[in-house]
Each structure stands twice: as C-alpha cells, then as structure tokens.
C-alpha cells in the first residue's frame, strides 16, 4: 500500500470514528445497580409525586438550583430529552435545592419553559440520595428503578443521551416491577414537600 493510500485509509477511518456517536459512559452492570430510594413530594396542585409511579420508565433525577450556572446549561437538554423520549418511556424529574423554594423556582420554570416535573427537594430526600453536596447531580434510573449511573457536575450532553438511549433499549416488559424500594413506612413516611408539575404526569 502506498503512502498516499495509507493516508487516505487513515483519513477515512478518522472521519468514520469522528462521525460515530459519542461513546456511552459506562453504565453500571446489572449486579452493580442499587435501587433508587423512593420519595414522595407533592406538587403545587397538591398531587403527590412518587418515584415508584415511574417504575417501567427510564428516569433522570436531576438535583439542581436556580443559582447554579452549570445546572442552567443542562436544563435545555433535559427539556429536549423529555420531549424527544417521553413516548418511549422516559421522564425527567427535577429536584430543586433552592432554600427559598417556589419563590425562586416558579419563575424559573416559566422563564426556562421547563416541560418536566419539578419539585423542591427536602433535606431528607437529599440525604437519601447520598447527601447532595454539589450541583448539578443527576441519577439515571433504569426501568426497574435502579441507579444505572450518576453524574456530579456538568457533563457532556451526549453522555446523558447515550445512557438514556441505551437504557430505553430494554423493553418495559422485561423490567422487574418491584425493584424500587418503597420507603413509605420508613424515614420518608409522611414526607409532604411541595412540588409542581411542570410536565405531564407519568
């Protein structure tokens, strides 16, 4: 093979690799996945949002705040994902860590046209998810309600997209229905944090 041919093949290979989709981050193996803790937070209409209601869906649980710049970058991605993958069994749940709750969050939802459900995270819920110390922090749950991966800080949009698509490949019927731990009688019992439904119900 001549030098020119080698160069041409190499270039073609590079172009092919560059054109490939962003490689997915490693999702946890089935054995590594832990059940996500359930939470119950009420929305602005007084409707409870139970994580267990989302069993059978791929869910992105995003801890964020209005004062968090990197969170603001991700929100349009999540709006897009919600719209794009909702019909395939995907949902985003936004858990705000704003101290002043709805006073800041409501206008933000409106101004950013958030189309998914947003709630105010309580201290208890934050602790249940491993003491959220940095924002954004997100957990991507498989259809069985198990944490397939999590991200602390701003990551590449393609990472999320690839993880979601990978998890959506598993059909709903294959998902085990009782994997999410229901802590209704546990430390979260009676939790009645406020929440708002910005998007559709599950």
């Amino acid at each position: 093979m001549s030098r020119i041919q080698v160069a041409a093949v190499s270039s073609a290979l590079l172009l092919f690799l560059a054109g490939c989709s962003h490689p997915p981050r490693d999702l946890k193996t089935e054995a590594q996945r832990q059940n996500a803790p359930n939470f119950t937070l009420k929305d602005a209409d007084g409707n409870p949002v139970h994580l267990t209601d989302y069993r059978g869906k791929v869910v992105l649980v995003n801890f964020w705040a209005t004062w968090c710049g990197p969170c603001e970058v991700e929100i349009p991605w999540f709006v897009e994902f919600e719209q794009k993958y909702k019909d395939q069994g995907f949902a985003v749940l936004g858990l705000s860590m704003d101290d002043d709750g709805w006073k800041s969050v409501r206008p933000y939802i409106a101004s950013h046209k958030i189309n998914y459900r947003v709630m105010i995270a309580s201290e208890v819920v934050s602790q249940q998810f491993g003491d959220i110390e940095a924002l954004p922090t997100s957990f991507v749950l498989d259809r069985q309600g198990r944490i397939a991966t999590n991200h602390v800080g701003l990551v590449d949009k393609r990472d999320y997209q690839n993880e979601i698509l990978k998890l959506l490949e598993v059909p709903k019927t294959a998902a085990v229905r009782d994997a999410v731990v229901d802590v209704g009688a546990g430390p979260l019992a009676g939790l009645t944090g406020a929440g708002v439904r910005a998007g559709q119900r599950p």
């Binding site: 832990q34 803790p37 954004p136 944490i147 800080g153 701003l154």
Partner: protein, 150 residues
C-alpha cells in the same frame, strides 16, 4: 435507605463542603464615637470562584458580610474590584472573586460604648462554584476582637 456513593465521590463531596476560609481579623482598638476600619482576609480554594457582592445576574447569590449589633456599628463595606470571569457554563462573564481577597468593614464605635474588650460577631454568606459544578450557599460565623478605650 441512604444511597452509598463511592468513597472517592463522597470524600470529594465532603472536601468541597467549605472552600472559603477566613483569617480572623486583627483586633480593633477604638475610642467611643470614633471611626475605624477592619479587614477580613479571605482565601478561596484554587479552581473555585464566589459571586461578588454585585453578581452579574439576579438569580446568583451575592457575597455578603453582616455584623451583629455590638460596640461597633458597620457604616459601610469596601469590596475589592471583582474579576469578570469567563466560564464554560455561562455565555457572559461573571462578576466573581477568586484566590485571596479581603472585605473591609468601615465601623463606627458607639458614642456610649463601654471601655473594655468585646467580641463582635457576624456572618459571611457566599456561594461557590468551579467550572463544572456549584456548592450550596454557605454561611460562616466570623468574629472580631474589639477594645474600646477612653
């Protein structure tokens, strides 16, 4: 059920808990009714920034120093000139502080302040981020040793 994050992730999270430290300010000596300044030296962990006292956007949490009532009354503050930092997560530059800086409080001693040693207490509220994530707002307790003399 509390989630078990990896030990490294947890350690990282906890280590990030307090990224702004302050050096106790020098003792202030003042006569009743006199004006006196006090500098609060601050040191922010490398790679982090805090919003200045006048952030670029309304939704950002400003750096704020407040003093409780005591022998000295805060008549004003001097913040350093902020940097206009450019970060990947923001289209426009942000008004921030990084590294070492100080806030000067312009005090006035009460005209009827009793002579003797006192402690003035206050709070420093800040919210820090690095280039990819933000930490929740924090409030540090600060104190200042004051000597009122005749």
């Amino acid at each position: 059920m509390a989630l078990a994050l990896s030990p490294a992730l947890r350690a990282q999270a906890f280590a990030q808990g307090n990224v702004l430290n302050y050096t106790p300010p020098r003792k202030v000596v003042a006569k009743p009714g006199a004006a006196v300044d006090s500098a609060l030296p601050l040191d922010l962990r490398s790679g982090y920034h805090v919003n200045s006292n006048m952030p670029s956007d309304d939704y950002l949490i400003p750096l704020r120093l407040t003093w409780n009532p005591g022998p000295l009354e805060a008549a004003g503050f001097s913040f350093p000139k902020p940097e206009m930092g450019k970060y990947s997560f923001s289209e426009k530059p942000l008004s921030v502080y990084t590294g070492e800086f100080q806030i000067v409080t312009h005090f006035k001693a009460a005209a009827n302040a009793e002579p003797g040693p006192k402690t003035l207490t206050g709070k420093l509220r800040y919210q820090a981020c690095n280039s990819s994530m933000c930490l929740p707002p924090k409030t540090l307790d600060v104190s200042l040793q004051v000597e009122i003399v005749k």
